[in-house]
Amino acid sequence: MTFRREATMLANHRWLSPIFLLILVSFVTSIALSTRANNAYWVSSESGTDVPAREITPRMRVPPNLAQGLAGWDQVYSVLISPRCINCHTAQNYPQQGDDRHRHFANVIRGEEGRGVPALRCITCHQEVNADSTGVPGGPDWHLAPLSMQWQDKNDRPLSSAAVCGQITDRKRNENMDGKALLEHHSEAALVLWAWNPGRRPDGSMRTLPPLSHAEFVNATRTWVEAGTPCPRGR
């Protein structure tokens, strides 16, 4: 009863309406200005130019900062040096296999284009899909990464995070891929996707997967790319 009486009293005070309207307009304006400021920063950060207000869309957002970008890279690096990836990013003239990353059996050789040698090309054995009945993995155009993308040293030890990051962001070495292309590569390249569908070993057990899911890997790559592909310091 008390509440109803007070509400009636407020309603009778007509002078309250303009004040309420003023507060509402101020609130909406401040929200809009805040959003525009954030968008302008994001767009500037990516393209180097300001974007007219009419082109700002809700998808634009504040980019990750340097620390977030480096954290994203750490996650990306943890995948790149996992056996499913690094076994074909060797510094030698041969691929590796297995979680212990031993040299590929039968003295398989890299060859001039990373696709093996005559009579013993990668596709001599590796077909377009995994052969789970035999344990031979497969994917489209099975081949080694170029030597410019070697993520190991000559003793088959993984390179440092800084060194791998330096390679991947060097467009003279990475087949001229910018951040967007790197994100696309990690999202869609058939042999990258294979790492999360590596099939069975010859003994029938499943091959181990990279430490992140593919979705997590792509998200980490996106964060790193949106932060400007920062690399950690050091060698």
Binding site: I109, A119, A131
Partner: protein
């Protein structure tokens, strides 16, 4: 079961098999072309080597469903190729064969090598033939025969 039309040694062959059947077993069991041998069944010995569109391929691990219209050349058809003929002649001349079980795969790989490298070095031979095992250890004669074939091509 599914029906597949294959191009084997220039001839069209029709087979009705399970899609997962390896090419090796289609050749041997369905088409009765037993020159291609079963060795390990896991692509590790090279005895089952055939050409798929000119690429030396282990037929034991290629399911028939992946063949499509690729041209298959087997040991039965290799003599119609000049390089294949030269390799076979050299094999006979050097008396390479001992038990012979691996030799059809060895010859197919040797032809693939010579088609890509007409004058192979010892290193070329070792690298390209490294996936073909011979329990009789005829490797020295295989190397000699490849070099002899290279001279005649």
């Amino acid at each position: 079961m599914a029906t597949y039309q294959l191009n084997v040694n220039g001839q069209t062959k029709k087979v009705d098999v399970d899609p997962s059947t390896p090419l090796l077993w289609v050749l041997r069991e369905e088409l009765k072309m037993t020159g291609t041998k079963y060795g390990c069944g896991i692509s590790a010995c090279g005895a089952c080597t055939v050409f798929l569109n000119g690429v030396a391929t282990r037929s034991c691990i290629v399911p028939i469903s992946l063949i499509a219209d690729q041209k298959i050349i087997t040991i039965e058809g290799i003599a119609s190729d000049p390089v294949g003929r030269a390799v076979q002649n050299a094999w006979v001349e050097k008396d390479v064969v001992q038990c012979g079980y691996c030799q059809s795969g060895q010859i197919m790989s040797a032809v693939a090598l010579l088609k890509a490298t007409s004058k192979p070095t010892d290193t070329n031979i070792e690298e390209s033939m490294g996936g073909n095992l011979c329990r009789c250890a005829t490797y020295v004669r295989i190397r000699e025969a490849i070099k002899m074939a290279a001279e005649t091509i």
